[in-house]
Symmetry: D2
Subunit: 366 residues, 4 copies
């Protein structure tokens, strides 16, 4: 199956390997007339760029985006938007050894079983660089959503056991701290933890949270295309994510109904909710409250410590993975989660435009 | 958007409301030549039938399935299989009052915002009865998977704070205990908890776990159609599910890489893994180990206790929901989760058949 | 592949065999709030009913439709609409012999090659009765289109060499003549031709034309989802159709550019065209003129005359097909072509609602 | 709607405008392990290159393809294959005038109505250059099909009233005559016709035929995804095509059943057909005979002769289109039709791999 295309109305088709000539994305079905320049996209791409702090790999990746189609006179034309980032600083020499064995925690073994061989350089298609296309697409979706008053904001909730304190929430810190934490104190503690893990030739996991505000009620489609179902699919498709929670998430399994139900109340003439255990989603549709989602991210599988594994000849071996790897995936994955949420939400908002027959009729009366 | 169709190769199209004439499913693309009778489907449907114990509503739902197409001389023909269950015991009178207000924890409010009105009888399309079509489709997929040596087995892991003890795992208990727990001691404790919550006019949540064995490595498609991504979407699309975990799930965010990585080892001449933190999925593809997934299910939102909410006139009101409701959703949802996993897995196994060009060429050489 | 589902926004999933228990359709994604009763659907279904004249088979098919879901208080709810027609008058005895051989002009042989066996009763899934689901879906789409001032009108253009005279066009005749011709003189001549062919134990082909008026310019999506491309697929998918023409169709291959180009002119302050060789479609999008499409329909393959063929044992045999068959497919297929055009057009009109970013933004500003 | 993506198993996503930075395609889901180099693609692209004869425009388009992803060690990897052609010789200055008016026979007017504006340079997205991505994708599909003994061969059947003589069919002539005609005498006459039309500042239409041999019976899916339906959609989506015929096509409307039915006969122990009126397709599935399809192509709408039209201010004007235009579209479109047929056929052959349950079971037994 074609596995690199996502969406129903707006379709995102990503391509590219870590050490190929380039990586990119084609966005088909994006509405016409939105102003767009490369800088709009570059800003988001820069948020996933490594080499900016001790929380990331020391590899330099320049990652300059070029828009090749779908823009005319500074605006989207309604036709496919092709964007590309050239791979300029990849050193294939670093990776030759791993061709022969299966790294623990990596996709090497399933890849070989599925396709018979793999592009082993830097993880090939399963490299984190694969997310460049997602973020480029996310930049467009976020921009259109923002013009409807919708804000999609992801950040690091925790790294290892260092968690942010919601009372210290500082949105500006997300893009200025090395951990993408919106709490500068937690950021400092997390950086200490990361440094310790790096010193131990090890890595660490964490949690990314995404909050979406300004979404009207009714977005999402009953049954299989529920908002929470499609958000889960989109975010779980990001490498290293192993669990997804909506609203109170795993806690609900211990709740009683009276604890978990959010009561509706009238607030300034509008329907609102007294609490938000549901994370802004009821019956798979937005309920008008903030949408809250959490993604649990595993520690980087590439660690410098010795590990046992097997090679392609079926022999048990011991390996030491070399190269420059992030000691924690979380900070760079924040913008990826944000992008996936934006892409999914915008697609469902478009679907919702024809939920009522009168909307279709009125559109064509104009 | 069309939100009631799922799948790429085998497409499942479900339909029906709680109190309409009938509910059903059309399965398009199911391979020809598999033996199938109504009893094959009925057995799974009976596992979601209520009224069989104190853990479920006292409503009786007969839920006899009829297969209307796609079967000839006892075998699937390759053409769409239409299956239907008539609604026979629904009492519309019970539900007239709820038309006027929005029940906390239910989809009433988003439904009205989206479509302008709703079939309020018994939850309409967002009733648990919607899952009849899913289970009927799941029965077929499970049967074909079993012929390939694949077992998809879901069960109740916990209800409230009562959790099964893995050392007491008894597979036979899943279908014979009222809680669908594979641990008879935990079942007794959970039934006491349920009775207590019912007495308090309240309800309780729980966790469903699904274990899939016998899956070869390489199933799932890199990037957006990862096995874990599509399983998450499928299971999160079941009403009341609020979190999904693959393998060690939420725990990985506190793990180090050396704790989380599963080492590969040779076992009887085959590649195996020393541990299974990954839950049988690496890089979005099966890795040959058992696939492990957990769904966290919220407590039944329909509770007899008084609740505050708003009505369609925008007034704050207090309500008492009458009717016969499950005090816990989990036991009846077990077979639904099992079905969703089977449908998703089979679909991806079919996609995998052409991963290699030589497979396509060899198929047509025959 | 799932081959019985059509559409992007509104998805039509048809099912059923000629001699199974029933045939039907599930329509997923139809907008909410349109008034609909069974009579709306029955009226169109009655147009494809046989037994009403010498132009059709003498078989009686009652074909009463039941709507099982998706309607509440007389209006569509936005959830899947399931419709069903029970097979009541099928006599399986008539068809037992054809199980053993491959009828010329029929799908018997490819069906066996693909699936290994087939439901041979009355053609099974490849029977003309398969179109019941299409027409039921078409009824809904036509109704919504009519509320936007769009008329989809198909009729018989010719049977054999008897063609209508456009100067005698009488729309009322379409539903009142046995041939579905909008020219009562041509109808009489065509009926004579049909009677002659029937007497010769033979059958005859013909042409169905469809004219769609009231469509605004810009419907259809550049490149693969062009309006003419999707209309062609939809109409060619009707059994017995062997050619499709848009506008002047096959004639354009002999035209010069100056003959074929339609000049634009201002007409009452609006852009119009001096001619309509294009059939209302330019660059795959509607151009504001009437959309004109022609489907060329082959003669009924089931003829009473002797024919040579082979049987399943690989022997050359001579056969005489018994049973009651239409001497011409065209009159009953008119409403099927009309339905397929309506389904396709409505789906693309919905897609067009978000062609401009400002339309999306304005929708959510409301 | 996303309109630039085609296919179910193998998905083709094309992008690019005539005068943008580049044009290209992403192919997602192509099987792994097929040898592929840029030259394989370039050979097909060169067949659509202009400037090679008096039958085409004198514009030079170099059209060198680069493969950016999805290939490793000379073989497809199973991940998306991104291919790109830079636009090097486009002169935007030529096109500035046409921004203000709507050219007859072109998509200018519908484009503006749909999106509010358009990239008017060289036709933008509706330029013939859009087909570069189609042909690049077609090259891969043709290569894999050829490894299964399947030949997809399109050629010019006629230009204006000059038609090939089947008794002079010379396959080698297709790629060596300027008209892509497989009859060298007809080619000479057609070139004279083209020269005459060019001298008259006019253009001419023609017919492309495609013959596919070696396809086993049973390819195509009953009902909406019939082989002929999807071929029609794919070929009709090529700009300038206005009619599609399968087998005897439009002639069948005048045939009787006894004339049109192809009798089955045993030939060297295999089922064959005495004639091939059906064009190799019965009931939407291949019947084992050669597949025959014809596309009727309109004359180039850009002609040097004076034409009346309207401008964006709603004024009637007279225009003379300048620039270098093909006097006939047909010769360069031959390889595009061939590509669309190859893409469609391969996709359906993959779908057919799981038509039987035993095929799925046997695949995983290996």
């Amino acid at each position: 199956m074609s596995g690199s295309i996502l969406g129903n109305n707006i379709k995102i088709s990503t391509w590219g390997e870590s050490h190929g000539a380039a990586l990119g994305v084609v966005i088909d079905g994006f509405p016409a007339g939105m102003e767009l320049c490369e800088e709009d996209v570059q800003k988001l791409l820069d948020r996933r760029k490594p080499g900016t702090s001790a929380a990331t790999t020391s590899r330099k990746e320049d990652d300059k985006v070029r828009i090749l189609s779908g823009i005319f006179e500074g605006k989207t034309t309604g036709t496919p938007i092709s964007m590309l980032v050239e791979n300029t600083s990849q050193r294939s020499g670093d990776y030759s050894e791993i061709a022969s064995y299966y790294r623990p925690g990596h996709a090497d073994y399933p890849f070989d079983m599925k396709y018979g061989f793999r592009d082993y350089r830097g993880g090939g298609r399963s490299s984190g660089r694969e997310t460049i296309g997602r973020v480029a697409a996310g930049a467009l979706c976020k921009k259109l959503l923002s013009q409807m008053g919708i804000d999609v904001c992801a950040y690091t909730r925790s790294i290892g056991d260092v968690e942010i304190d919601d009372s210290k929430f500082d949105k500006d810190a997300i893009c200025s701290t090395p951990t993408s934490m919106p709490d500068r104190d937690a950021d400092i503690k997390a950086m200490e933890l990361i440094a310790a893990k790096r010193a131990e030739c090890d890595s660490i996991g964490g949690v990314i949270e995404c909050k979406i505000t300004g979404v009207p009620a009714g977005i999402g489609e009953p049954v299989f295309d529920k908002l929470d179902a499609l958000l889960s699919r989109a975010v779980m498709s990001v490498g290293a994510v192993k669990a997804i929670e909506i609203g109170d998430g795993t806690k609900v399994s211990k709740y009683t109904g009276s604890e978990n139900n959010d009561e509706f109340i009238m607030e300034e003439g509008s329907v609102a909710k007294a609490t938000n255990h549901s994370g802004g989603i009821l019956g798979g549709m937005s309920d008008g409250s903030s949408i809250m989602l959490r993604a649990h991210v595993k520690p980087t599988p590439s660690i410098a410590a010795s590990q046992n594994t097997v090679n392609k000849n079926g022999e048990n071996i011991e390996i030491n993975i070399k190269g420059r790897h992030d000691p924690v995936v979380v900070p760079r994955a924040v913008v990826v989660v944000e992008s996936m949420c934006a892409i999914t939400l915008l697609d469902l908002m478009i679907s919702n435009m024809y939920a009522k027959a009168e909307n279709v009729i009125n559109f064509y009366k104009k």
